[in-house]
């Protein structure tokens, strides 16, 4: 037996009062003349045993009544007849990440998790508090029926969610309730990729469900990447899938099937496409359905339009001129007065790809030109130490001669560092410009002589230096995103979703066009995380090892979960019972006392 308010156990000392009164030989001051005293004496003598028994019974009942009242004040809890439990703050975490949408034994695993969750919550009593937390950290609390309804409405997320964050949050909610027992019930598919490390949950009980058996075999589209992001109008799509066996795929663009193919194992394929649509176009790569439908389709978006016009000035260097020739031949760019590609000190206007001069003597002119163009970056003193570049498309490129790029004082225009060398900015981009800190020569860096140079250049021209098609965002379902200024909503599934103050990606995978008023100004591509497609599970032991809490119970049979949710606390308040017992004692005492009182005397009283 435990006590929720043990301080009141001090009241037990009150039981000494009837004992004391019973044992005390009290001084009686009242004297009454009574001629028939001889009968009284005779009555006492003849009934001495009965009177003693009656007095003992009265003392016992009074003592017990006080004892029960004192115990009731201390709010005891104990196991009683195997039913009931102490007031429990119960938080049920339902793992509704994409992987729980997998069909297992003929039905989605999430449906079974929901059924278990409902039976757990149904076991709650009026003294309990219940909440539902889903993998997107959404919390529903309140009346039991409200929680049951919320469980019924749970749908699988479009992606990985944040299960560990949800569990940690659930533990906080349970502990904050301040009830005698805090229990977190975790209903999950035990997907290994969801449990990268241990979760510390403090002083809560954790009851977790770990499904047994082999995870269902799953194939997923892992790659649907348009290259470049802006098609003019030709482009390529890099397609990839997971799984050991061959699988057919289909590419849809603008709602129409534009290509089909066969992927072997985990190979990637490049699919060349030339859509007839213009502007922002949504596309998808899908596979034949398997047990997990959520990752059988992967979305992409591309801007289709005219190739950007490029004007290469002499200072850009030989490698750049030849690369642009190749891009022109591939119709990815055209020649014209659009984008200037030149040495920094040669550039006359923006947009421009600015390349550091080969001769350090030109550094002063170059910096003056940067200032004139309104670019906040400046070329620092030339460095001739060989280093390795870090950044997309240029990762691992050796850099031998470079001008460290420094932000000028007062420069406040937003810009991105696309690559670094020795931790210092090497390639930066801003509104209408891309600035490279080395000359495009083999002496300065290996960039112009490496294979990725052409895609890099194409990407710079089509994504950073062209206003159309540059606003392409990628995000996981529900993840926070940073939107370009002026975006008013997402357009997807024939409806426009409003943008909140802290925008997050929609929880369903798909392509959502960015709206600025009535105009489509970009696209947000939401795809599940690739690791969410790996369904391999943790064993019960491994799962138990991940959960750090006071008491962790792992159940492999879902039917055991409702029992375990309250099992360790299979105790219930005894307050009402003790009050009833005290009342019964008092009633018994009153009956014994009243039995000796004639009815007329009771009425007079």
């Amino acid at each position: 037996m435990n006590f929720l308010a043990p301080i009141w156990l001090g009241l037990i000392a009150a039981v000494a009062v009837p004992l004391f009164l019973h044992l005390l030989r009290r001084r009686i001051d009242i004297r009454r003349e009574f001629p028939a005293a001889r009968y009284l004496l005779r009555a006492e003598k003849e009934n001495v045993r009965r009177l003693k028994l009656r007095n003992m019974l009265l003392m016992l009942l009074r003592t017990l009544a006080l004892l029960f009242l004192a115990l009731a004040a201390a709010r005891p809890i104990a196991a009683l007849l195997g039913s009931g439990h102490v007031p429990t703050a119960l938080v049920v975490v339902v793992d509704n990440t994409m992987s729980t949408g997998a069909i297992v034994d003929g039905s989605p695993l999430l449906s079974r998790l929901k059924t278990v969750a409902q039976s757990v919550v149904s076991g709650a009593e009026s003294n309990d508090q219940t909440w539902l937390v889903t993998a997107d950290r959404a919390v529903t609390g309140g009346a039991r029926n409200a929680v049951l309804d919320a469980i019924d409405r749970v749908e699988p997320l479009g992606g990985r969610g944040d299960l560990t964050g949800a569990i940690t949050h659930a533990a906080g909610v349970a502990l904050a309730a301040g009830l005698s027992t805090s229990t977190v019930v975790v209903l999950t598919d035990g997907q290994a990729s969801q449990w990268p490390g241990d979760i510390s949950l403090g002083g809560v009980r954790v009851v977790a469900y770990a499904p047994t058996g082999v995870a269902p075999y799953n194939r997923a589209v892992t790659m649907a990447e348009p290259r470049p992001a802006r098609w003019s109008p030709k482009g390529t799509l890099l397609v990839g899938a997971s799984g050991a066996d061959s699988v057919t795929y289909r590419v849809t663009l603008g709602g129409r099937t534009t290509a089909r193919g066969l992927l072997r194992g985990s190979d990637e394929q490049v699919v060349r496409l030339e859509p007839s649509e213009r502007g922002w176009v949504a596309g998808a790569v899908d596979l034949a359905p398997d047990e997990l439908r959520g990752d059988d389709e992967r979305y992409f978006a591309v801007w289709v339009g005219d190739a950007p016009a490029v004007n290469v000035l002499p200072g850009a260097g030989l490698f750049v001129r030849e690369a642009v020739d190749a891009l022109v031949q591939s119709t990815l760019v055209t020649r014209g007065p659009g984008i200037e590609i030149a040495a920094v000190d040669e550039v006359t206007r923006l947009p421009a790809l600015l390349i550091a001069p080969a001769d350090p003597v030109r550094m002063g002119a170059a910096n003056r030109n940067l200032e004139r163009l309104g670019i906040p970056w400046r070329l620092g003193e030339v460095r001739r130490d060989e280093t390795i570049a870090r950044g997309e498309d240029v990762e691992g490129t050796p850099v031998r001669v470079r001008y460290p790029l420094r932000m000028s004082t007062g420069g406040a225009a937003p810009s991105d560092t696309l690559a670094t060398a020795s931790g210092e900015p090497w390639i930066v981009a801003g509104s209408g410009y891309v600035l490279v800190g080395s000359a495009m020569s083999a002496e300065a860096s290996s960039l112009p002589v490496r294979a990725p140079f052409l895609p890099w250049l194409s990407s710079m021209l089509s994504e950073h230096l062209t206003s159309e098609g540059s606003s392409l965002l990628r995000a996981e379902p529900g993840a926070p995103i940073r939107l370009p200024a002026g975006i008013t909503g997402f357009e997807g599934d024939s409806q426009v979703l409003a943008v909140g103050s802290q925008p997050t990606a929609p929880t369903r995978a798909g392509v959502y066009f960015l709206r600025r008023g009535d105009d489509r100004v970009g696209a947000l591509v939401v795809n599940p995380e690739r690791e969410e497609s790996r369904l391999d599970r943790l064993s019960a032991t491994e799962l138990k090892g991940r959960l750090r809490a006071d008491d962790v119970i792992i159940a492999t049979d879902p039917a055991d979960i409702p029992r375990h949710a309250f099992d360790a606390s299979a105790q219930r308040p005894l307050q009402a019972l003790l009050l009833l017992l005290a009342l019964a004692c008092l009633v018994g005492e009153m009956m014994i006392v009243r039995q000796a009182e004639p009815q007329g005397l009771r009425r007079a009283a």
Partner: protein, 306 residues
């Protein structure tokens, strides 16, 4: 008749004794009681004792119609009843316990046992004297306080009433002496009516009554009890003491109430059996009973005489 407030009963023998006693002196109350008692009788008790005519007297309510002299009625238009000599021959002795235990009441709203018994004595005496019976009185406590030989005259009743006002309340009950004295007062077999709370030694009392019975007297014991003596109606814990002895009993009323009632009932039953074995009448009279009750008991005794 005593004034009443309109609610029945109107006969004095049926009215609450305490209320009635507050209305006047003992002789007045006794007259009201006896008048009321007689008016309630349907049959005269003076039937068949003797055939020797003595005198006429006016008809009273309750007289047997067989003793109305119809010739006198026809001649004088007055209802007259024939009186017989033998009716005056019954002799009665009233024995009253005036010890301290009798001078007690469980409630100020009730008469003390002594006051109640005195009213009863006065009424019985008046009733008997009106029937031409000779009545004597013996009062005792720790000694004989009053001994009035039996007389049938009207003045005898006044003497009895005066005697009742004499002091008493001694700290003992010499009942045996009182009963024996009463038995001596009446030479022929008569009536001995004892009024007492019987808080005495049973064996001694039995012995004295045996003597009275041996003398041929009809003995009736009216056991006067306060209702609080029959059932403890107080509360709490107290020391209960006997005014006539040093006996003190500490008791919690609620604890002993039931046992006490049982003990009293047992004692009453004991008295009843002992006195029945002696051929003596025994009645328990509560002090909240109307005076008609003890009167009827005594009257019944009178009727049983041959």
């Amino acid at each position: 008749m005593p004034p009443t407030t309109g609610a029945p009963p109107t006969r004095a023998d049926l009215i609450d004794p305490a209320s009635l006693a507050s209305l006047g002196r003992i002789e007045i109350i006794a007259r009201w009681v006896v008048d009321g008692f007689l008016s309630g009788l349907h049959r005269s008790p003076r039937k068949g004792f003797s055939v020797e005519f003595a005198e006429f007297r006016p008809y009273q309510t309750g007289d047997d119609l067989r003793f109305i002299d119809w010739r006198v009625v026809a001649r004088s238009d007055k209802w007259m009843v024939k009186q017989f000599e033998e009716e005056t021959n019954t002799r009665a002795a009233l024995v009253l316990d005036v010890s301290k235990s009798m001078d007690w009441s469980g409630s100020p709203e009730r008469l003390t046992k002594l006051r109640y018994a005195e009213q009863v004595v006065a009424a019985i005496a008046l009733l008997l004297i009106r029937q031409r019976d000779a009545v004597g009185l013996v009062r005792y406590d720790d000694r004989l306080r009053t001994v009035l030989p039996a007389r049938a005259r009207t003045m005898q009743w006044r003497r009895i009433v005066r005697s009742l006002e004499e002091p008493g309340a001694g700290s003992d009950s010499r009942m045996a002496e009182g009963v024996q004295q009463a038995a001596k007062l009446i030479r022929r077999p008569g009536i001995v009516i004892l009024l007492s709370d019987l808080l005495v030694d049973q064996d001694q009392m039995e012995q004295s009554l045996r003597v009275a019975r041996a003398a041929g007297h009809q003995v009736t014991v009216l056991h006067i009890m306060d209702p609080s003596e029959l059932e403890l109606d107080s509360r709490g814990e107290a020391i209960f003491y006997d005014p006539e002895s040093t006996l003190e009993v500490t008791a919690t009323v609620s604890d002993v109430r039931r046992a006490y009632s049982a003990t009293v009932m047992h004692a009453i039953e004991e008295w009843r059996q002992r006195l029945a074995a002696l051929g003596a009448g025994y009645e328990v009279i509560r002090t909240d009973s109307p005076f008609g009750v003890p009167l009827r008991r005594a009257f019944a005794t009178r009727q049983r005489l041959p």
